[in-house]
Amino acid sequence: MEAIEVTNLTKQFDSTRVLEGITFNIGEGKLILLLGPNGSGKTTLLRCLMGLIRFEGEVRIFGFDVSHMGKQARRLVGYMPQDSGFYADMTCAQVLDFFSNLKGVDVSLEDLLGPIGLLQKADAKVKQLSGGMKRKLGIAVTLLGDPPIIFLDEPFSDIDAKGKLDLLNTIRALRERGRTVVISTHTISGVLTMADEALVLQRNMPIRTIRSQLFASHFSPTYRVHVYSKERIPIKEAEVSPTGWVTISSRDLHSTLNTLAEYGIDISKAIVEEPTTNDLMMRLAGDDL
């Protein structure tokens, strides 16, 4: 059985058709990227997959039709929306207690907040957390009960390089544990090297599937990572400026950040320039994929 089956999915808001006749299947254990510029319908597609909005066509999660058996389907999915979506006056501990009860799972605070470095913030209210901390809390809530399918909507926005590396490591671990992961992103964010396929959404164009073997020829994104270091960084691509800032151009963001962290560089202050899918779309326009 496929993890996700989408058949002839169409979604229209008033007179605007955002998604039209989309059909694809996603096998168990796959990591899929949902690429497309802003406004191309990535979030709408994820909301359809969750059964959060009405649509024409059919979506099945492990055989459960989300339109008619939404509760059963959502029991199998962890979903991280773009906005944290937590009640601002709840503490981190209350948030986790609330959502773990809704999911019907029994977990300890230490197990959930410890690995993401928020244990000391257990009694802090959501409104007191930084954007990055809210993201971490969002990930923890999304992964409650270790669901077999995970949807992440723009998970790399508003987080620093350290948070990005942590998230990439989490995604890699999920993939190694055989979880099916669908990531919607308008930046490539280093996850490209892990993905099995990319589904490319563009307005008024049919959805396109690009397999990982073809990523290099179609995407080959180059990232530029800027870090400040008084010490010499033994990476051959590193360009050192007289002010102490070092710029590294790389096609594998994950390994570059890992390498910098191994050299003891504080990557939480790193600045990452990454290609957006808008850039990719410009390149893909007219390509015969």
């Binding site: 909301r47 909005i53 929306p81 979506g85 009640y87 006056d89 809704l102």
Partner: protein, 275 residues
């Protein structure tokens, strides 16, 4: 059988509603006004005998008919639209729970919270009065309290329906305030105008009274004080003669219909919406 998910939603809703600052203000204001009315009402007791109790009750009824609709509609009227604007609804709906469970949990949670605040407000006033009067009039107080709770239940449901169809908090708040003004203040004027213009007779006024939940609650409360409804003038006396002991059933029924109808509307609308 109530599911664990529903219990979690309900507990969360009650916790959030009870800590809502407007509800706290409402409870404090209710308690302060109720106690003041009781105290000043009782000052004349020596001269008026037990009529002082009726006067205090009438004051409390007027207070209830202004405050309970306002707080019920305000709290429930922002319930769904605030979740939608604050993006918490998307996170909530992505859990293994249905829209119906979310809506019903919100309704019950808000009604329990308002009910608790109302009971506390009434409780202080009635405690003071019983201290002076003794337990003889407890039944009347409990009847008025029950009518207040029925009114809170009906208008919380109505507010929830408004919240479901509103596109923004601002729009919802406007609709709630307008609704409150029409039901509590304007309705009487409209009825008087219609009576003059259309030359309505007393029997014609009965359905008009039943249609407005605030009027239905007023009749229930006055009936608790005096089953002849003489406080309501000729119309009240006519209603008392026409329906007699069935008045509680008929007007409580009207509030129940308001409750069920509003919840049904909210459910249909909420289920048919994206997010």
């Amino acid at each position: 059988m109530i599911s664990k998910e529903f219990r979690t939603l309900l507990f969360g809703e009650v916790t959030r509603s009870i800590s809502n600052r407007w509800l706290i203000v409402y409870a404090l204001m209710y308690a302060a006004l109720g106690l003041s009315l009781s105290y000043y009402g009782m000052l004349g007791l020596g001269y008026l005998g037990l009529r002082g109790f009726g006067r205090v009750s009438a004051s409390l009824i007027n207070l209830t008919l202004y405050l309970v609709p306002l707080i019920s509609m305000s709290l429930s009227g922002l319930a769904i639209v605030s979740e939608r604007e604050g993006r918490t609804l998307e996170r909530l709906l992505s859990q293994p729970i249905s829209k119906a469970e979310i809506l019903i949990a919100k309704y019950i949670g808000i009604t329990i919270s308002i009910g608790t605040a109302t009971v506390l407000g009434y409780g202080l006033a009635s405690w003071y009065m019983l201290f002076v009067l003794g337990p003889g009039d407890l039944g009347i107080f409990l009847s008025i309290l029950l009518a207040s709770l029925l009114l809170a239940a009906a208008l919380s449901a109505f507010g929830l329906a408004v919240s479901t169809v509103s596109g923004s908090r601002f729009g919802a708040l406007g609709a709630i305030l307008m609704g409150w003004f029409v039901l509590v203040a304007l309705y009487d004027v409209l009825v008087m105008g219609a009576t003059l213009v259309a030359n309505l007779k007393w029997p014609d006024l009965i359905p008009i009274l039943m249609v407005n939940p605030v009027e239905a609650a007023r009749i229930l409360m006055i009936y608790s004080l005096d089953p002849t409804l003489i406080f309501l003038g000729p119309t009240g006396v006519y209603v008392a003669r026409a329906f007699g002991p069935y008045i509680p059933m008929i007007f409580a029924g009207s509030l129940v219909v308001w409750t069920m109808g509003s919840i049904a509307l909210a459910l249909v609308k909420f289920r048919g919406q994206d997010l």
